[in-house]
Subunit: 330 residues, 2 copies
């Protein structure tokens, strides 16, 4: 089979990364742009297309392929608040410089790009990346949940991403887990995100410390009692859990418990065969995964027993965003 | 366009009703079998096929059409615990006489039926009925929620029922609405069903009466204070609400509040353009619908504002089950 190439673009609040991706999932080369350097979207689009052109011109040393952007199979873009129907992003909350609607397809066409393009949010892109290049190959029904600053999700039903009537379906981070629970940045209360995002983990650690008091002894890696609430970071809590800090372990036990309920609820919707997890807070591993899987089993409706497993994404952390974007046009 | 006909069969714990349905959604004729008369599934299947044959032989007086079961476009069956993949029902909880797996397709084939057949649970059938004959015509994304003894749901994504990897997706009645909440018949706690089914309404009325005490004055239709907990029925609560009984109104206010959260959560999944409701407890109308719509708006994530409405099923109560079953093969 002849090799084909796509450009995957991962647009983030700080950095935007482009990758030239071969059809076997190998990222041939990357290029980084500083998102914050741009105050207007058209200039940003100019530079993305230029960078894509340079990646194509340099080509794939393994196969000898070289070309222009219009020799690609397509360009896929993962971006916050993406509207897949129009190929744009709409008022992205962490990219205040790009006001209103920023249309990738229109701007890239203006820059001479004629090949297929697809735009979607990062969690949806990650789900497709898992399906095309990762652990969900051949699966018809699965869900990807991304834990980070927020909680995102991509839902695949019958082998296709669920976009719904608005194009923005699959926001499980804003499923209300506990009515009248913790306040959420969305203005409502009790969203899954407030319990299982990086910020949710910090909140939970602070709650746990208030309830249990600081540990009696202090071992390497544990969070010292002198650490103020404001100094707690989800990464620190993760490292402390790995070091056996009982407060951090209790924190992840609760986070796993909540996420297990959310996963069990998701199964009543689409009966996926797997729920994949990715993102910083999942890297802690067993301190999260063990209570999560236990809670999932405990809360799963009996007719689904044994039908759905919970797994970490099979893609590498530093590749998933680009592979996900690439998968949008694969 | 020439008329075509299907038989829709609604298999219930007490009665099983067959209907001859014309492609314009008109139920030409019906036949009723008493489900409890049968102790073995093959005999039951014999009689269903026989009844279907008689309906076809009598035909449609409006058009002059007559035929045999094999002149039909198909036979659709709505049944509890249906497995659409195998065309069977599995250990239906209210039909203890039919143990193990009862395969409709195999039994009907044995009886000489050669036309297409489809089997699904009643809520999924109702959703398809709404799509083919009711208010969801032309919709690609919608959800049907059925309130009754339990709470069922049928979810349509991209114009197709979501069956998931198990064939049994779409059980929103067992979405955990309140972790560690009311005990559910499924053995878990806090399922939507425990708050919004007929039994949930009764439980809520009893709670409300305990909290608020009986009404000071008693008007016609209100539930007298002498009524014991065991005598409360969801229909009585509905009638009392229509008569202005403050306890019954408060009951439906709470039920609507809970169902509104569940509907808002469902939107984060598939972003439907409409959520349809059907079933006995919904007949009370405004006392349920007003607080439900208010709670739905209050709990809907802002990106979905205005994108999804809540409506009663457009199908007649006494037609929906047969039309739904018919729609499975339409």
């Amino acid at each position: 089979m002849e090799n084909t190439y796509v450009i995957g673009i991962d647009l983030g609040g700080t950095n935007t990364e482009l990758g030239l991706v071969r059809n076997d999932g190998h990222i041939v080369a990357r290029h980084n742009l500083s998102t914050t350097d741009y105050s207007a979207f058209p200039t940003f689009a100019d530079d993305m297309v230029k960078a894509a052109g340079e990646l194509c011109a340099a080509g794939d040393p393994d196969t000898g392929w070289r070309g222009t952007v219009n020799d690609l199979r397509g360009i896929g873009i993962g971006a916050p608040n993406a509207d897949p129907n129009t190929g744009s992003m709409v008022e992205p909350p962490n990219l205040k410089q790009f006001k209103g609607v920023s249309n990738f397809v229109e701007e890239f066409r203006r820059c001479g790009v004629t090949v297929p393009m697809a735009v979607d949010n990062d969690a949806n892109a990650a789900a497709l990346g898992e399906m095309v290049y990762g652990g969900a190959k051949g699966m018809k029904h699965f869900i990807m949940i991304t834990l980070g600053t927020g909680v995102g999700s991509g839902i695949v039903v019958d082998g296709k991403l669920v976009h719904g009537s608005t194009g923005t379906a699959g926001e499980l981070g804003h499923n209300i887990l506990i009515p009248n629970g913790r306040p959420c940045s969305c203005g409502r209360n009790g969203c899954l995100e407030t319990y299982t995002s990086a910020r949710g983990i910090v909140k939970t650690y602070i709650e746990v410390r208030r309830e249990m008091g600081p540990p009696k002894e202090l071992f390497p890696g544990w969070i010292p009692p002198s650490t103020t609430d404001a100094e707690i970071h989800s990464i620190t809590v993760g490292m402390a859990a790995s070091a056996g800090d009982p407060l951090a372990l209790e924190t992840f036990r609760r986070v796993g418990y909540w996420l297990g309920i959310a996963c069990a609820n998701a199964v009543t919707f689409s009966a996926p065969e797997c729920i994949f997890l990715m993102g910083g807070p999942t890297k802690v591993g067993d301190p999260l995964l063990k209570p999560l899987r236990q809670s999932f089993e405990d809360h799963l409706l009996n007719i689904y027993a044994g039908s759905c497993r919970i797994e970490m994404s099979h893609l590498k952390t530093n590749e998933v965003a680009i592979l996900g974007a690439a998968a949008l046009v694969s």
